[in-house]
Symmetry: C2
Subunit: 233 residues, 2 copies
């Protein structure tokens, strides 16, 4: 079956969330005259992401968008660090997730891939987050799809099948692209084609993600340029 | 309240559905060696649109996307004209609605407006239709929103409020842009700001749409260039 559309995971796959968040936190610290280990703060902030989504996935929380899950965790971490700022300042800092910078090869690679395929996000980030991010960073999506649209966070099957349905393609005509094997395994279980892109710096210079076996996914690529080469785009 | 996002009606407002559909039907006729009054066929095809959506809006039909509503009407009209073609040919012709051409000022106007505002579709067309159309015509949307995402066709209130919610803006920060007063009146009733853009040729050269009073909507514009001028974009 030919591939008709590519659905991209975003945090870590398209954008370097960690460096961006550390930079935003450092700026926040300078503005407010507070200091902390901002790298650790960024990692702790991100570490709240999966457990919070899992509460939604298990039905313990009603649908809650990532902006609100991020904000809840941020307030906890600021409290723990005894940092007191206004709600407006918290809102601005929380929206740092709307201002993440892409990896150096992302825009050029997506621009090539867009010539040949329909390209969309399929992220757990909410639509406004993804749209703001794309506008600021110049990510040339054909459309912006999100777990928010399907009411199911990845790796719920509904997110992958919902994407195929709304794009009017068969699951086997849709390729999920991600730097995270767990996302790709769930996509594959739902019938999608899969592409792993290695992002060795996602967790910072001191933690190297385990690279899956070369045969586990349909494509394994070292970056978006290599990925576009392999797809002939 | 400042305007933060612009939501555009698409059929008739951004694209010239009638000329595009007549051209596709004429091409279809030539390929299949059949003749008909294709202008009238196009108008009859489009005339099935609102009654079909209204059946969904009243709950007489479950959610059905525009592609399927269009196809149902097309099959009826081909039957009435005693034109017999394959299902594949019907599918291709039905997807003419994915290949509509923009009005001459649409791409340039949207490109200007995008510099200053978040721009999205808010159309009754389904997501894959809108995405295919944008890709082919170069419509530079920041994101693609559709009645399909909200499970409610315009003029249901949920479509307008759903757009504000998913973009994380207040209804009064969202401007609905359309060539159709009925769409704008429903948007206004939901609390949105409104802009009317006159498209005198939407129904063809022989039918001129009634122009609403200059004061009825927040902005009245003669085309997207004039609209961008009035917004200072």
């Amino acid at each position: 079956m030919p591939i008709r559309a590519l659905a991209f995971d975003v945090f870590g796959t398209v954008v370097d969330w960690r460096s961006s968040i550390i930079a935003e936190l450092s700026e926040f610290g300078r503005e407010h005259g507070v200091d902390a280990d901002w790298s650790r703060f960024a990692d702790d902030w991100r570490a709240g992401y999966v457990p919070a989504m899992d509460r939604v996935r298990r039905g313990e929380l009603p649908w809650t968008r990532i902006d609100d899950l991020h904000r809840g965790r941020l307030v906890e971490l600021l409290d723990q660090a005894a940092i007191t700022v206004s709600d407006t300042d918290i809102d601005h800092l929380n929206r740092a997730w709307h201002r993440l910078d892409p990896w150096p090869d992302s825009v050029a690679g997506l621009t090539r891939l867009k010539q040949r395929f329909l390209i969309t996000t399929l992220s757990n980030g909410n639509v406004s987050l993804l749209t703001d991010m794309a506008k600021r960073a110049g990510l040339p999506w054909d459309c912006v799809l999100s777990a928010e649209i399907f009411g199911h966070y990845k790796p719920d099957r509904e997110a992958y099948l919902g994407t195929a349905h709304i794009l009017d393609v068969a699951p086997g005509e849709l390729m999920m692209v991600a730097a995270h094997p767990s996302d790709l395994r769930a996509a594959r279980d739902a019938g999608l084609v899969t592409a792993y892109v290695h992002r060795p710096l996602e967790q910072g210079p001191d933690r190297t993600p385990e690279r899956p076996g070369h045969d586990e996914f349909d494509i394994t690529a070292s970056d978006f340029g290599d990925f576009a080469d392999q797809l002939g785009a």
